[in-house]
Structures are given as structure tokens and as C-alpha cells.
Symmetry: C3
Subunit: 263 residues, 3 copies
Amino acid sequence: MNNQLEKLRETAPLVHSITNYVVMNNTANALLAIGASPIMAHAQKEVADMVHIVHALVVNIGTLDEYWVESMALASQRALELGKPWVLDPVGAGATPYRNETLRHLIGFKPTVIRGNASEILSLANVAVASRGVDSANQSEEALEAGKQLATQLGCVVCISGATDYIMDATRVASVGNGHEWMPKITGMGCTASVMVGAFLGVEKDPFEATLAAMTVMGVAGELAAQEAAGPGSLQMHFYDALFSLTDKQLVDMAKVTRNATS
Amino acid sequence: MNNQLEKLRETAPLVHSITNYVVMNNTANALLAIGASPIMAHAQKEVADMVHIVHALVVNIGTLDEYWVESMALASQRALELGKPWVLDPVGAGATPYRNETLRHLIGFKPTVIRGNASEILSLANVAVASRGVDSANQSEEALEAGKQLATQLGCVVCISGATDYIMDATRVASVGNGHEWMPKITGMGCTASVMVGAFLGVEKDPFEATLAAMTVMGVAGELAAQEAAGPGSLQMHFYDALFSLTDKQLVDMAKVTRNATS
Amino acid sequence: MNNQLEKLRETAPLVHSITNYVVMNNTANALLAIGASPIMAHAQKEVADMVHIVHALVVNIGTLDEYWVESMALASQRALELGKPWVLDPVGAGATPYRNETLRHLIGFKPTVIRGNASEILSLANVAVASRGVDSANQSEEALEAGKQLATQLGCVVCISGATDYIMDATRVASVGNGHEWMPKITGMGCTASVMVGAFLGVEKDPFEATLAAMTVMGVAGELAAQEAAGPGSLQMHFYDALFSLTDKQLVDMAKVTRNATS
């Protein structure tokens, strides 16, 4: 883990989220617990100014509307101009034409990392990749193939989260086997993973390594929390406590990371 | 209970909420904990599309504004056109002329179920029922009378929640005596009841029975949570855990349901 | 404490918040736990009507945008007209020109109390105080000086919250030494302090005393919660439980309040 967590806590990176209403509280608390500093701002009159003062931007389209989409575009455009890393969380990709249209617009601002579940990454690849080759035995493999094509075409890191998380760019793939089955029973755990990626992008220059670190933190903290929990309600509470007391040593000891450099 | 809970968990109904900012996180977590799937979306460009793919819609006017009211109207109109069940939660009915005007508009799209507290149902009846007869000894009885008139005039189910919950349509009345006095000390427990009704509407065709099942689940889970809790903070956490581990047997054993078919 | 808490619970003051999305749930729960009644409403068509029926208004600019700023202005203007107390929480003052411009506008409606951290109060003083004299040895003293000038120029109470909280008006200063180091690790504890001030303004006519009571409640409840907590996640849960069971006697016994009348 290269002491990335220690570095994060020394830096306390500012992470600017333009995210959905449902998870704002969760994701801010997760950032505070791990040692980062959350900022939420979406006004068209200030959103680009805010990008200037932060370490990373996270755009999450969960509860998008016309005003917010314009704010997301202003902020991610500014991030691109300033060379600041930004994460795109394509919540609900494929659910409506409007979400697909919005995603087509936002990927033009070259996200550093895209994180979604298998269904979202598949939908986004269909939107973004001109002539997508599909040649896989099942949906899980199909999502991996789609993620690889997306990462290659957009020149970004793609993270497909699930029971096993996959992190990939044009030349590398890694997986994280940590986590707990109750985590999807809490709203916003995926969105929390995305802001955690934003936090590590603030202290780790290689976005592949930053994403891998973030997903490992999520999974290990989830496992530690589950040891104390009786269901998803108590899991969420213990999850913040676990993030807060998490050490680099725990990460090294518990991480189930597989690196399979390909191509 | 007719194994309604088991059926809910098998189906994992998609429940689309257009609700207030305060409770979005709570209600999503409650739906996940019981075994349903929450969707929150309000953009005018997608809200009707979203209604197509869900089992039920819940409209809650808690933090309404001009944009959101139009979204609520678009979504509930589409639900009416498609014959999909939808729940209206008239938060703060009577507090301002704007809320009353909005409710007058929304009930035109024929909600399947209306759930509110006694004050809200009384206010809504004053808005909706042309010449409302009031002939009751006290406010509690007056609310029941108002609910009955509302249910009859609009051809819907009305649920008046409180220490005892009342569920009624034109010909039936039932009550649920479960719950705990600390539940009103947590914001959004009423709103959570409304989305729970939405979840059961996704698996039970009779909206009276669906509402009765939802209110029983709320009350029993609240009682189970209170056994572990030291105040409203811990009650909320244990409530999610209780929803998650709740069984049909617990519901049957603990339910304090009275059916008084009238008229 | 003059039984202020007991009085609050008897009155259950209605506190109208126009606040940021991140903390709406927290602040509503804190108000309920202490015994007050939260209302959240921001529609331009109803916001002034709502001010009529409440005991106090709280305006928090955390996730401001053009629509919300207009709502905040309509509500605080009405509070001024009606002589109702209102609290301004200048979240992120100084972060962007838009926040400063908004604050310049809102202070024209004469807030009763302004509560922020040292950085926010310093920024607001730079915006609001025409020719601000700065003659202090360090940033902490500079913030106190800025707060004093702000309180004098605007004729309001200023609260600077931090490890030690300072409450001041043109002639008085008091400090509260209660609290716990994990409290800043939970999002919205400052915003919660602001609504707590709103609640006490509903039952205590002297805004200096109301603010002092609110900050003491926050700090003491934080300490009680920390005794049970293993990190910020569990601290938040126990904090609501502590507010709920807090007594005037606990406040008297635990309060670390210093009154240094100056002028």
C-alpha cells in the first residue's frame, strides 16, 4: 500500500463532490473519517472557482437534472483545463435516454477514473465506444471487456465494483476481493467508493494505484465493520469507525489484491 | 400476512421516489433493508421514462418547489396512464397555500394510496372534498371521518399514521397498534412508511392489504429496534437491522392488527 | 442554565431551516432529539408564509445556488419584518466570490446570530466591516477581534465555534470549553450547532444567552456521546441519544462556561 493512507491523512486532500442528494451525507462522513476534507458545491456561479482550490473532483449523476448537469459540465471542464484529476460515477447509466445523453457529454471532459457497477459500465461502453466488440461468454466477462475498451478509448482508469472489484487501464488489470455481502444493502456505498477514489487521487499521482488503494480501503473497512454489525444499519455506523481507525498495516494484512498485468 | 414479506424479498420491487431532501437517505436504506430496490430521480427530462421501469411510485411534497412539483405531476400522470400504483405523502398539508394548491393538482392524477398524519389528512380533506361533513366528537374521530370521505371521493386507500395507524378505503377500515413512542423523534419515519407502502404495492395487488402490511412492518420493526435502543439515534440504526432480519413469523406473532369492516 | 432546556421541551419551538443538502437529515434529527420541531422549506412561493408560523429561522449557505439564495433572502427579509430571530451560518465564507456576494446581501436583513468557524467569521468580517482594524498576535485572536467588530457593526451576536467556542455581542464575551475532538470528524456538527441556536432563540429572548445555552448543549452532549463511542460513526448515533436524555442538571454539572464581560 506504500503508506498511501498515511500520506492521505497528512495531506487531508480537499475533495469536491457534485453528487446526488441521497448520499451526500454518507460520502462526506466517509471522507472525514478516512482523513480527507469534503466540499459540496454546485452553483453555476461558483463551481469552476471551487475546482481551483481542491485536490480532486467527483461527479456523480445519481439525481441529475438540467441545472446540475450544466454545473457538472462546468466543473469537469475546469478540471480538464487545470489538469486536476476527476472521477465520474455514472449512476443509473442506461436507465433513461437522458442519462445516456448526459454521460456522452461529460466523458468529453476526459474523466481520470470512471467507477460503476457492471451494468453501468456496460451501458456506458455502449454509449461511448464507437464499434464495441463483444465476444464474451457471460455478462461478467462482457463487463470486463467493456471496461477495458472504455479505458483504452478514453485513456482513463475504469473500476467495476461488485463482489470482486476490477480496476483497469489500457495496459493493467487488478482485482480486489475484499468487502462484505451486506454492503450493497446500504445506499451509497458505491458513491462512497467514488469519493474515496477522489481522496486517493489527491495524494497518489498514478490513478490506477489511487483507485486500487481506494477500493482496498472500502473492502477492508467493510470487513472490519461487518465483524461488529448485526445488519446494514449497524454496518454503516461501524464502517465510519473502521475508516477512522484503519491503519496501513491492516490494509497490508487484509488486502486480497491480485495484479494481472495484461497486454 | 400471507407471506407478503417473503414475496417482497423474492421480487425486490423497484420503488421510484420523488421525495424530500431530508429523508432520501433514510427511505433508500429502509427499502434496501426490507429487500426492495430504491430509485430516486426527478429530472423533467427523465421522470416519466423512469416510471416505465418501476413497480411503484412515491410522491412526497416535503421540500417541494416549482421545478419538483412539475416533476411530481409528470411522474404521477404517467403512473396513472400506465396503471401503476402510486403513493402520495402530503407532508405539511395546510401549512401554506402553496402546499394546498400543489396537493389539489396532484390528487387529480388519482393516487392509489395517501398516507399522512391526522393533521395532514384533515387538511387534505378540506382541500379535496367538496362539501365535507364534519360530525365528530374530537379531532381524532374527525380525522378518521375525513380520511373516510377522502378515500370514498378519490377512490383510493387512506392511511392515517400515529400512535395507532388507521387504514381505510370506501368499505373497509383496519388499525395497527404497533410502534414505539420514540419513532416520531426520528425524522422521516412517516416518509419511510410511505415508501414501505410503495414496496408492498409492488407485490400485493390489493392496495388496502399492501398498506396494512407496510404499516405492520413499520410498527413491528420499530418495536424490535426499541428493545435494543437507548434513544432515537440508536433506534434508527436498529430499525434498519430489524427490517433486514424481519420474518413473516415475527410479523404474525407481533402484529396488533384489528380489522373492522364497516359500511 | 436557568432551566432553558426544560423550557425548550415544553415549548417544542418550530425551527425553520433553509440549509444545505448534506446536513438536513442530521439537523432535523438533532432538533427532534432535543425536543424542538424542525421544518425545512425553500420554495419561493411559500418560504415567507412559513416564516409566519415558526419560532426561529436558520439560513445556512452550504450548498447555495441562485434559486436558494433568493429563497434565503425572502425568508430572512420576512423574519426581519416580523421581528423573528434568525441565525446565519456562513458556510465556506471566503471560498468563492459568489459566497461573499451572497453573504453581503443576506447580512442586510440583520441576522440575530451569526455562527461559524474562525475562518468563516474572519472572511465574513472582511466582507462586512468597512474598515476593519486588525491588531492581533495570532489567527485565533484575530478571529475574536473580527467577531467582536462584526457583532458591534451588525448589532448581532457572533459565535465562533472550535475547540473552544466563543459567544460575543457588542458588550459581552463568553466561552464554552466543552466538546470532543471527534466532533469535527462528523459532517454537519457546525450546522447542527446553528439549528440548536435557533431552537433556544425560540424560548430565550436574549440571543446571547440563547447562543450560550445552545453551544453548551452541543459540547456536553458531544462529551456524553464520546464516552460511549469508538469513532465518529458511533459518536453521531450516541450524540442523538445524549441530546434526547440530556437534563438541565447534567448541563449545570458539566458546563465549562466562562463569562468575561468586556466592552
